[in-house]
């Protein structure tokens, strides 16, 4: 889960990384009050979990509280790359002398975290890395040792960062490890004309797998802006909504991704990713079907199950019982293969639901579901 900038800023402050004064506003009036408290001038920053905010008009300087109110009115509700702005952060402006970049990111290739640092912050680090690779240092961190003051000093020195950033590097590592973050990034980390080091903007991505031991962010899951995704999440389903017309249910992440691809290869567009896992019980099947059928864009549904540990007859039982509790409104193509596939198919044949048809191969099932979607 990505944090909003203001949440990242709060974490930085809590761990002793210097940040500008700032507060969050949900209304233009609130923005004016905050700007007054900050001393009049303020930077109004849209809070959205996406990059490219500045170019999209999501960061504006306001000369006085009235201007801050006006800017906030304009910004709240604005769409930035598909994200609606629900809150803005007002920060005290600072006079920047130099901009730096620091982050810790997971390097999947070696299974370790990397410190990335550059004395050329401010812009996209990928651009700096592409045009002037020597300006970006990448230093792996031994998980058993972590980032000590000595290690941080080596990182800062290698990147040409001033000595005052060493403390920031140590504290950022503390955030990374104690908060179970997958990414912490400060861009830009600045030196002001008064010589102070400040984290002006930050990004923090937390590990969803670590929620069981990170109670703080438990209620903060507002990543499901789509109502169907929210409904699916409430039922514990792994569901991602897409913009096509063939609803898809399968077991196992790889097989479901593959099913999406095969449907796309048949000239139709998948409406979603939905992995019901190995068990495929009647309840999970019913929950999955009801989420998919409530998507108005869906014209046909494809159930693609490989019976490995759970045999196909048990899966077919689940589908039959799900059909008793969910009113099927779109044609359903079922492909069962693997253990007890013949018994599973016989169970569905016996149920003889007028909207349910079977296919014996994955490619054939995808073709059938795509044709049905086109015909609808």
């Amino acid at each position: 889960m990505d944090l909003y900038e203001h949440q990242a800023r709060e974490l930085f402050e809590e761990y002793g990384i210097p940040v500008p004064r700032a507060e969050v506003a949900h209304s233009p009036e609130e923005a004016r009050e905050i700007a007054r408290r900050l001393g009049g001038r303020s930077v109004v920053k849209a809070q959205v979990k996406t990059g490219g905010r500045g170019k999209a008009g999501g960061v504006k300087l306001a000369a006085d509280p009235a201007a801050a109110q006006l800017t906030a009115r304009h910004m709240l509700g604005m769409d930035i790359k598909g994200h609606t702005v629900g809150k803005v952060m007002l920060a005290q402006p600072v006079e920047v002398e130099r901009e730096f970049y620091v982050s810790y990111v997971l390097d999947r290739a070696v299974g370790r975290f990397l410190a990335i640092a550059s004395a050329e912050g401010g812009m996209e680090i990928e651009e700096v890395a592409a045009t002037r690779p020597e300006a970006v240092v990448r230093i792996p961190v031994d998980p058993a040792e972590g980032v000590t003051t000595a290690k941080a000093a080596r990182i800062a020195d290698a990147a040409g960062l001033p000595p005052q950033t060493v403390d920031v590097l140590v504290r950022l590592w503390e955030i990374l490890t104690r908060e179970d973050a997958l990414l912490v990034e400060v861009n830009p980390l600045v030196r002001t004309t008064q010589g102070r080091i400040l984290a002006l903007d930050g990004k923090v991505t937390l590990d969803d797998n670590a929620r069981f031991r990170q109670a703080r962010w438990g209620d903060e899951d507002d990543t499901h802006e789509d109502p169907l995704e929210a409904a699916a999440a409430a039922k514990g389903l792994t569901y991602v909504r897409l913009d096509g017309e063939v609803g898809i249910i399968g077991n196992g992440a790889g097989l479901v991704m593959s099913t999406l691809d095969v449907v796309a290869g048949c000239g139709a567009r998948p409406a979603n990713f939905l992995d019901i896992g190995g068990g495929a019980s009647a309840q999970i099947m019913a929950d999955g079907l009801s989420v998919i059928l409530s998507d108005p864009a869906v014209k046909s549904v494809l159930v693609n199950v490989f019976g490995g540990i759970t045999a196909c007859d048990a899966v077919a039982d689940g589908i039959v019982r799900a059909l008793d509790s969910v009113r099927l409104t779109k044609p359903l193509v079922v492909r069962l293969d693997g253990n007890n596939a013949a018994r599973g198919r016989a169970i569905l044949d016996e149920r003889a639901h007028p909207l349910v048809q079977q296919a014996t191969t994955m490619d054939g099932a995808a073709r059938r579901a795509a044709d049905l979607a086109h015909a609808a």
């Binding site: 058993a144 590990d207 992440a253 790889g254 991704m257």
Partner: protein, 299 residues
């Protein structure tokens, strides 16, 4: 021979007395796996009956190894305890730890994979179905009865795609199938398995299944070009995955322009690896290649 797991392997199960551990220990035994013990400090000294076989429970991995000569452990413990379980297994000096557990925090995986490496313990997983050498041994949760022994080696990030290919190619059969797991940090990579299959005299052709996220497939493609002489057939899942969304597996995410299925397919094809458009087509490519190899050998 096969890779990493044979009928000689002596297997411990950490978390054997839990629900999943019990279910899959029974299945592993039925597949011929030599399960020599379970590990649970609170139930040490007892035995658990699986049909005809009584399996002893040990207090620690170390005790289990001392008593049985175990060289493989399969880890079913919940995510919060996985790091301690793997660390214990590595400290005991076991050769292979197969970590089935899904949902392990990345920082824990980073720590225990680095630690295990320093102790000489190979990790497969986490968040994986394990590995099977059909007809010999099954360490994990792969269904054993959907295929038979043969000369195809398979390495995959995905469990169900592994099963799909095992089933499609069930008449030809497999030397070993390894599910390396779909998490961002895994102990054994595609490259590790490609290297092992290349050395394995019982493997003639290798199937490599990848998916979006990271660049493991691209690195594997470079490795194949340099080091693999046996034919490799590829399959990649996730061409239709949108940018920035996690597709079921924690590691299956396209970030910006990196980790796309298209880039992986192109890298593999550039290394001379045919990539199937669907699992079924992939299976056909394997069969065609095997036939060509055999015709070539006879000529």
């Amino acid at each position: 021979m096969a890779i990493h797991l044979t009928k000689e392997s002596r297997v411990l199960v950490q978390g054997m007395t839990g629900g999943e551990g019990m279910k899959h220990t029974r299945r592993m035994l039925a597949a011929g796996t030599n399960v020599v013990g379970g590990v649970n400090p609170r139930k040490a000294g007892r035995t658990v009956d699986f049909d005809e076989r009584a399996v002893p429970v040990f207090g620690t991995v170390h005790e289990g190894m001392d008593a049985t000569g175990a060289d493989v452990t399969v880890v079913f413990v919940p995510p919060a305890f996985a790091k301690a379980a793997v660390t214990e297994a590595a400290d005991a000096g076991i050769g292979l730890a197969v970590v089935i557990t899904e949902g392990i925090p990345v920082h824990d995986a980073v720590a225990f994979t680095a630690y295990a490496k320093s102790k000489g313990t190979r990790i497969i997983g986490p968040n994986c179905p394990g590995l099977i050498t059909p007809g010999q041994s099954n360490a994990g949760i792969i269904p054993a009865d959907i295929t038979k022994p043969g000369r195809i080696g398979l390495v995959s990030k995905s469990g169900t795609l592994t099963y799909q290919l095992m089933y499609e190619l069930r008449d030809t059969g497999f030397s070993t199938c390894v599910g390396i797991g779909g998490d961002p940090v895994v102990g054994t990579t595609h490259i590790d398995c490609l290297a092992a299959f290349e050395q394995d005299p019982e493997t003639d052709v290798i199937v490599m299944i990848g998916e979006i996220g990271g660049d493991a497939e691209e690195r594997a493609a470079s490795y194949i070009r340099e080091h693999v002489t046996k034919p490799v057939i590829g399959y990649i899942a996730g061409f239709t995955a949108p940018e920035g969304r996690t597709m079921g597996h924690a590691g299956a995410i396209v970030s910006g322009s990196s980790g796309t299925a298209q880039a992986k397919k192109e890298a593999l094809e550039a290394a001379g690896v045919p990539v199937g458009g669907t699992p079924t087509e992939t299976a056909r490519l394997v069969l065609t290649r095997l036939e060509a190899e055999r015709a070539g050998n006879q000529a």
